[in-house]
């Protein structure tokens, strides 16, 4: 008879094998692991409805999704408490992601010029309300749709409801096939314990096929189905406040003597290994009361047992249960596997309130995405989808200045040009968002996330099209340190010290420092007063960039349309791609090399006390409007030891006291990361937090691995 721990260990081993299979068959991927497994070859293809081979609009999405649900392979494992895995990136299988009937050619020249990731046609990246899901169940959701179907009677609305009903029935069909499979496997299973588990899986799923879940196992399984379906539909990976979500079911089961804590940890382990969805634990409820409960700790224990590429965030606030923070940091240090991460309640709440929202609402905006916060079920955000490559904007400004007579050259003049081009870039990014909002329903309606949002079903409108209660739209700036250090190097080395002149700098930039004295000039540039060091020129320029970017993004808000634009600094995994479009920069960076990460300083920015400098600088650089500028913290393993948990905790808490919003941590031995880079297959279990997401190191491309290695080596 297998113990729960043995079952979890077996699932973990299987998960690693599945990841290896993914790498072998599909190649490397600079993204989240997602928990997805490889589908059978050629098993399912999209059904196009457009001559370009893609599919667009309500009907096509419903048809494709339901066809896939009908055919999607089933997945049942007798060691697992739950059924189901997802296999298809349906949204990524389209050859084209934007409906060509709604062109944005007028924006394309500037999108290219400023290297903007415009987000047009991108999906998800806001949070569903899982609480609504577990309260209503599939049957309750169908009843809700029928209710509003009888109120909103226009043909378009009736069709809208028909398609959502179709989607739910598609999911129910998928679940039903798992019930059949589990029963069939049980019939052929000779081991009585495994047989019973398979029958329990079948019964759990039968219980939630229509009705709302009543037990912890049913609630977890229901949540799994929704996120598997939503992942399949369009990769949505947002979670919710997991401890509060599961607490009533846990308490019910404990009161009924259905489970003990060992069983709970087993369920939670199986739940977490299913998919590294972004879940938050701890933090205040809307009234400010700490939400930590017994199950918060059990979740951490379960996470410790599976120790995969998890995306659990601990919300740190003044009233946090101190033991929860202790345990969280303990597991971070013990496993050195980049989880959990930490979000800072104080600055997030204050920042969000500065947009005119109440404190109660601000507290409900939780960490459920890579770098982002969301109000579950209440808002449409385009979080982490729209980014302005500020390094590219700087380059445009620099060469525009250089094209003018040389008497005009100065950092003052360059700043004016940078400001002008950044203004244009932000306007273009915002125009792209508006274009997306106008036409996304004809491109890719959110048939899954509409179900767990408050508004789309009630109004008969897609969440992108007025269905949501709030439109809090994110635009992130990328490459802050590159631009700040470049301005600093120009001011210090040309204007103050006269070590270089503008012509020499331009010559070196155009030659990518590959001249006879290029190495020397590059060293001069790299050793200027860098962003991240206290009282440095880099910091001065960083603050100016923060202020102008924040102001420009906020100016795009339109109260009449209930559109609030919220700035952040984040580059996700786009640091490599953004870098490719930017030539050499005055901070000594070579052409086409990655740009800096979010609001982080360039690697090697300071020799000693880097953690404090990082924590201080990034806290200072927050746009402070409710979105994040995460602190990407490469923690030295010689420091990250159990005896230093209190010191690590102190840095986390202090960063948040100073205004920080999110901390992502890697604890990586330099020797180990170098060995893993040389031969990733030797370290299949090594997890790194690439940006906001964790990934198996072995899944990353060599170029991206190099980026992570550089960051760790120079930390």
């Amino acid at each position: 008879m297998k113990t729960f721990d043995e079952k979890l260990a077996s699932l973990r081993k299987l998960k690693l094998a599945q990841t290896q299979e993914k790498i072998a068959l599909e190649g490397l991927l600079d993204e989240d692991d997602y928990g997805r497994i490889v589908p059978p070859k050629g098993f399912w293809k999209i059904i196009p409805n457009h001559q370009d081979g893609s599919f667009y609009g309500f009907d096509a999405w419903a048809n494709n999704f339901c066809d896939l649900m009908e055919k999607h392979p089933v997945y049942v494992n007798s060691d697992d408490a739950f059924a189901g895995r997802w296999m298809y990136f349906m949204s990524k299988m389209r050859p084209n992601k934007w409906n060509p009937e709604y062109p944005y050619d007028h924006l394309k020249p500037d999108i290219k010029k400023y290297d903007i990731i415009c987000g047009i046609g991108d999906d998800a990246h806001f949070a569903p309300d899982y609480e609504m899901g577990v309260q209503l169940g599939w049957g309750g959701l169908l009843d809700k749709i029928e209710h509003y179907r009888s109120i909103n009677t226009s043909p378009a609305q009736q069709h809208f409801y028909d398609l959502h009903i179709k989607v739910i029935k598609g999911i129910q069909g998928w679940i039903r096939r798992h019930i059949e499979k589990a029963n069939e496997m049980a019939m052929h299973e000779s081991n009585s314990e495994r047989k019973q588990n398979l029958l329990d899986i079948a019964q759990t799923n039968q219980n939630i096929l229509v009705d709302a879940p009543k037990t912890l196992r049913e609630a977890c399984q229901w949540i799994i189905w929704f996120h598997l379906a939503s992942r399949t539909y369009n990769r949505d990976g947002a979670g919710g406040q997991l401890d509060s979500l599961l607490l009533p079911f846990y308490e019910h089961d404990i009161a009924e003597n259905n489970i003990d804590d060992f069983t709970t940890i087993y369920y939670l382990g199986c739940f977490l290994i299913n998919d590294p969805v972004y879940w938050q634990i701890g933090g205040p409820d809307k009234n400010g009361k700490d939400q930590t409960s017994k199950i918060s700790f059990l979740l951490l224990e379960a996470a410790d047992k599976i120790n995969t590429s998890l995306n659990i965030t601990v919300r740190v606030h003044d009233g946090i249960n101190p033991e929860l923070l202790d345990r969280s940091v303990y597991y971070l240090v013990k496993n050195k596997n980049a989880w959990p991460r930490f979000s800072g309640d104080k600055a997030l709440v204050k920042g969000f309130m500065s947009n005119g929202f109440s404190v109660e609402l601000a507290r409900q905006r939780i960490a459920v995405g890579c770098n982002w916060m969301s109000l579950p079920g209440l808002e449409y955000t385009m979080n982490d989808l729209v980014k302005v490559n500020m390094a590219k904007v700087f380059e445009v400004a620099y060469y525009e200045m250089i094209a003018q007579p040389d008497s005009e050259y100065s950092t003052g003049k360059l700043w004016k040009l940078f400001e002008m081009h950044l203004t244009k870039a932000v306007e273009v990014a915002a125009a792209g968002i508006r274009h997306h909002l106008k036409y996304q329903k004809y491109n890719e309606p959110e048939l899954l996330l509409n179900l767990l949002s408050h508004g789309p079903i009630e109004k008969g409108l897609d969440v992108s099209d007025g269905g949501a209660q709030y439109y809090n739209l994110a635009i992130d700036g990328a490459g802050l340190a590159i631009v700040a250090d470049s301005f600093a190097a120009l001011e210090q080395r040309i204007e103050t010290e006269h070590l270089l002149d503008w012509d020499e700098m331009t010559t070196q930039l155009k030659a990518d420092f590959k001249t006879t004295n290029g190495q020397k000039i590059q060293a001069i540039c790299r050793n200027s007063e860098r962003y991240g060091a206290t009282d440095s020129l880099g910091e001065k320029w960083g603050e100016q960039i923060r202020d102008i970017f924040t102001d420009l993004v906020c100016k795009q808000s339109n109260p009449a349309l209930k559109q609030v634009f919220i700035p952040g600094f984040f580059s996700w995994a786009n640091t490599v791609g953004f870098g490719l479009s930017v030539g050499a920069t005055p901070n000594g960076r070579n052409a086409k090399t990655p740009i800096s990460h979010g609001a982080n300083p360039n690697p090697g920015f300071i020799i000693e006390g880097a953690s404090l400098s990082l924590a201080t600088t990034i806290a200072k650089m927050q746009p402070a409007k409710g979105n994040t500028a995460p602190m990407q913290w490469e923690l030295d393993p010689t420091f990250a030891k159990e005896e230093n948990v209190n010191l690590i905790k102190a840095i986390i808490k202090t960063h948040f006291r100073m205004g920080g919003t999110l901390i992502n941590v890697n604890i990586m031995d330099k020797k180990k990361i170098l060995e893993a880079h040389k031969d990733p297959s030797k370290y299949p279990e090594l997890v790194v937090r690439v940006t906001g997401f964790t990934a198996y190191f072995a899944m990353l491309s060599p170029q991206f691995r190099q980026l992570v290695v550089d960051r760790i080596l120079e930390s």
Partner: protein, 299 residues
């Protein structure tokens, strides 16, 4: 009031409780063979040359007006006997290979730089640690820094070799929250051989501080061939077993070796291997035998 420092290290975690800022004073009256901060020995500026960083551009040689710099097979050779420490070469060095160690700085400026981290001290129970070098060799400067810190409620610690006049210690007693004092060996002759001074005054001052109710940590750097025997550690234990102090054993390491070459100094411990963790654990057990409390065990 100004003084000479080498650096202010943010986030020092081995120099007292919590997260601390360690101010390294320049100038020391001892010459311990195993010192890993030889840049703090001189009461003057020192020119440091890091060969690995050197781009071989020779701009420094062109800049030196007294021809104290020259090329050699692998980088730059410094004629230190001629060098006037003017620092002009460091100003033109593009890569930071040549740097001038030492900064003459006002006590107020030290505190201004340190107080940016008050928020970290508060959260972690940390503060400022004056280290070196020997802080008490710049008594007025040290006193001023400590007074300013006390006024700002910053926890103060000092690392001292105690080879100073008792008056200096007396002057600082009200300003120091934690004394970290080296007890390297009990034997005066061995002490003199390896540090340049005998230890009678040190031990006398050590007892004086304790008798004045100061909080004290006795630190013993454990150096192979110098004091890494059971007998030597036992004799230290006997000295402190009835005193209200905590102890730390600090294992010898070689992390400072490169600096000797970079500063043109002779490393008398060259070739010595770091003390093994196992040996350190064995010696730590002696403290337990004598019922002496130790602080963080990993140092």
């Amino acid at each position: 009031m100004s003084g000479l420092i080498t650096t202010i290290q943010r986030m020092s975690i081995h120099d007292g409780p919590g997260i601390r800022s360690a101010v390294f004073m320049k100038g020391c009256n001892l010459r311990c063979w195993w010192c890993h901060n030889p840049e703090t020995w001189e009461f003057n500026f020192q020119l440091q040359y890091i060969n690995d960083k050197c781009l071989r551009c020779n701009d420094c040689i062109k800049k030196c007006e007294i021809q104290a710099l020259d090329t050699e097979a692998d980088g730059i050779r410094i004629a230190r006997e001629r060098c006037t420490l003017c620092g002009k070469c460091t100003k033109v060095c593009p890569s930071g290979a040549l740097t001038m160690i030492g900064e003459q700085v006002e006590a107020e400026e030290v505190v201004r730089r340190v107080e940016q981290d008050i928020i970290f001290y508060e959260e972690s129970g940390g503060g400022i640690t004056l280290s070196g070098g020997e802080p008490l060799m710049q008594l007025d400067f040290t006193k001023k820094i400590l007074s300013l810190c006390k006024a700002k409620h910053i926890h103060t610690a000092i690392e001292s070799n105690l080879m100073v006049h008792p008056k200096a210690i007396k002057a600082l007693l009200p300003l120091v929250d934690l004394w970290m004092c080296d007890i390297k060996t009990i034997d005066p002759a061995t002490h003199k051989k390896y540090t340049g001074v005998s230890n009678e005054r040190i031990i006398k001052n050590f007892k004086y501080i304790i008798n004045n109710n100061a909080t004290v940590i006795a630190r013993t750097p454990v150096i192979p061939g110098f004091n890494d025997t059971e007998e030597c550690i036992e004799s230290i234990c006997k000295l402190i077993q009835d005193l209200p102090v905590k102890c730390e054993l600090l294992g010898f390491h070689t992390l400072g070796f490169d600096k000797f070459c970079q500063l043109g100094l002779t490393n008398l411990c060259s070739g010595l291997k770091p003390l093994t963790a196992q040996r350190l654990s064995e010696l730590k057990r002696i403290f337990k035998k004598y019922n002496i409390k130790t602080t963080h065990e990993n140092i």
